[in-house]
């Protein structure tokens, strides 16, 4: 079967700044109230969206939507390097999640693209495993429905649900916590609509365990901004961090963050020399954050 046509106006111009954005032509007549499909440039799209959706926070991501962009990203995957480096912020990650989330690429297509690039199964097992996580979250969402916003299990932190704040504090919302790492992640979330998985886990753990805010607050915050945001992967990962979908709360310490971020945040952090809330052993953090926990 012939797939539908794909617009190619911008493929030759990666920056896209001067290229027009022309939707594929429609074989039927327009009607009053149809949204526009022709824009002189990406900036013109931004301007049009500002008037069509005035309530939405401003700004476009440098990450472009569409099949052409998705295929270009898919051509760059390196399954073996991904398996070895994916936990590092500068690792060989795929950045395919926004395209997978919206079905621009199906998981089956990505799976087959991985197979094509695989000589030995072992070198691609980690990437296939991560695709499996996506499939798993989707299956759970089908099972849980709107229950995905409720705790799957009781928290294992020793704190009752009422001990967690129900609103996002202003310093977090503004990306001005004073912690170079967290403020950096928030700035990147706002500017690009995308974060490395490890950065998501660190920011989520900070919000839920250090600041003691309900995971639902953080999950909703992420969903407003993440290009790949869907309640399945997002909410269930927040629950995994919070411990309502795992055996224990996820925490990290400075050594872990510094290692996998290449030290890029600590180097410029005002709290690097003294006052870093993550500068401790896991045992110390466990005792400090969860003094009443039974484990």
């Amino acid at each position: 079967m012939q797939p539908p046509p794909v617009a190619t106006a911008n493929q030759a111009m990666p920056s896209g700044k001067m290229a027009s954005l022309t939707g594929v032509p429609l074989a039927w007549k327009p009607a009053p109230g149809d949204l526009p499909r022709q824009f002189a440039s990406r900036e013109a799209l931004d301007d049009a969206l500002a008037s069509l959706f005035p309530e939405a926070d401003a700004g476009l991501s440098p990450v472009r939507g569409g099949r052409a962009a998705a295929e270009a990203q898919l051509a760059r995957i390196q399954p073996a390097r991904y398996g070895k480096s994916r936990n590092f912020l500068d690792g060989a990650i795929t950045r395919l999640s926004p395209y997978i989330r919206h079905g621009v690429l199906t998981l089956a297509e990505v799976r087959d693209a991985v197979f094509v690039r695989t000589r030995e199964r072992a070198s691609s097992e980690k990437l296939i495993n991560e695709l499996g996580w996506r499939d798993y979250w989707q299956r759970l969402w089908r099972q849980l429905g709107d229950g995905i916003w409720a705790d799957c299990e009781p928290l294992k932190t020793g704190h009752g649900p009422e001990r967690y704040a129900a609103a996002l504090p202003a310093d977090l919302g503004a990306g001005r916590t004073g912690l170079a790492c967290m403020d950096g992640f928030i700035a990147e979330l706002y500017a690009t609509g995308w974060l490395h998985n490890h950065a998501r886990l660190w920011l989520a753990a900070y919000l839920v365990h250090w600041r003691r805010i309900r995971w639902q607050v953080g999950a909703a915050w992420f969903l407003r901004h993440l290009l790949d945001g869907d309640p399945a992967s997002n909410n269930l990962s927040w629950q995994w961090v919070a411990s309502s979908f795992s055996h224990k709360p996820y925490i990290f310490n400075r050594a872990n963050l510094e290692r996998y971020s290449g030290g890029r945040y600590c180097a410029s952090c005002a709290l690097a020399a003294a006052g870093c809330p993550f500068e401790a052993s896991y045992e110390e953090l466990q005792a400090r954050l969860f003094p009443a926990a039974s484990v």
């Binding site: 079967m1 797939p3 539908p4 046509p5 954005l21 032509p25 429609l26 074989a27 039927w28 009607a31 149809d34 949204l35 499909r37 799209l45 931004d46 969206l49 959706f53 309530e55 939405a56 926070d57 401003a58 700004g59 476009l60 991501s61 990450v63 472009r64 939507g65 569409g66 962009a69 998705a70 395209y99 919206h102 079905g103 690429l105 199906t106 089956a108 799976r111 197979f115 695989t118 296939i128 495993n129 695709l131 499996g132 996506r134 499939d135 798993y136 299956r139 969402w141 099972q143 709107d146 690009t192 609509g193 909703a220 969903l223 407003r224 901004h225 993440l226 290009l227 869907d230 309640p231």
Partner: protein, 148 residues
């Protein structure tokens, strides 16, 4: 169904969309869902997300609307004299409610996208490890098509 319209939703914005594949050239519509735009936690979704969807949609032959999804899909169907609506299965529970609202007035045909893996039996989803014990060998069974 002889002259359906296609309802495209945010889980299938690629050429693998089974409705687009099964009915190439039929009028298709995507509706920016007023309820989803208002966002989780009563704060609207960011323009970044809308723009990303918009760029995906410009590459598909689809009319773009904004508003109440079921009402807009039905109005689009009326404008095109359609005798039904074809769409692809989605996971979001909101989609099932919209489908039901549309189906109250017009027949709706739901096509399944190609799955990542067919498990063949109900999976134990309490932890990933249990799911993956069942799924992993089935996923890798397909690798033989590529490795010979």
């Amino acid at each position: 169904m002889n002259s359906p319209i296609l309802w495209i939703h945010g889980e299938a914005l690629g050429p693998a969309n089974p409705a687009l594949q099964a009915f190439p050239g039929r009028p298709a519509v995507f509706v920016f869902d007023e309820t989803l735009l208002s966002g989780p936690g009563s704060r609207p979704v960011s323009r970044k997300r809308i723009a990303f969807l918009y760029e995906c949609l410009l590459e598909l032959p689809v009319t773009l609307r904004r508003g109440d999804v079921a009402a807009e899909v039905l109005a689009f169907a009326r404008r095109h004299g359609a005798d039904g609506v074809v769409t692809s299965a989605a996971v979001d529970p909101r989609w099932a409610r919209l489908r039901a609202a549309i189906a109250a007035q017009l027949p709706v045909q739901v096509l399944e996208p190609e799955p990542f893996v067919c498990l063949g039996e109900p999976a134990d989803l309490r932890r990933f490890s249990r799911y993956w014990r069942l799924a992993e060998p089935l996923v890798w069974a397909g690798f033989s098509r590529f490795s010979s």
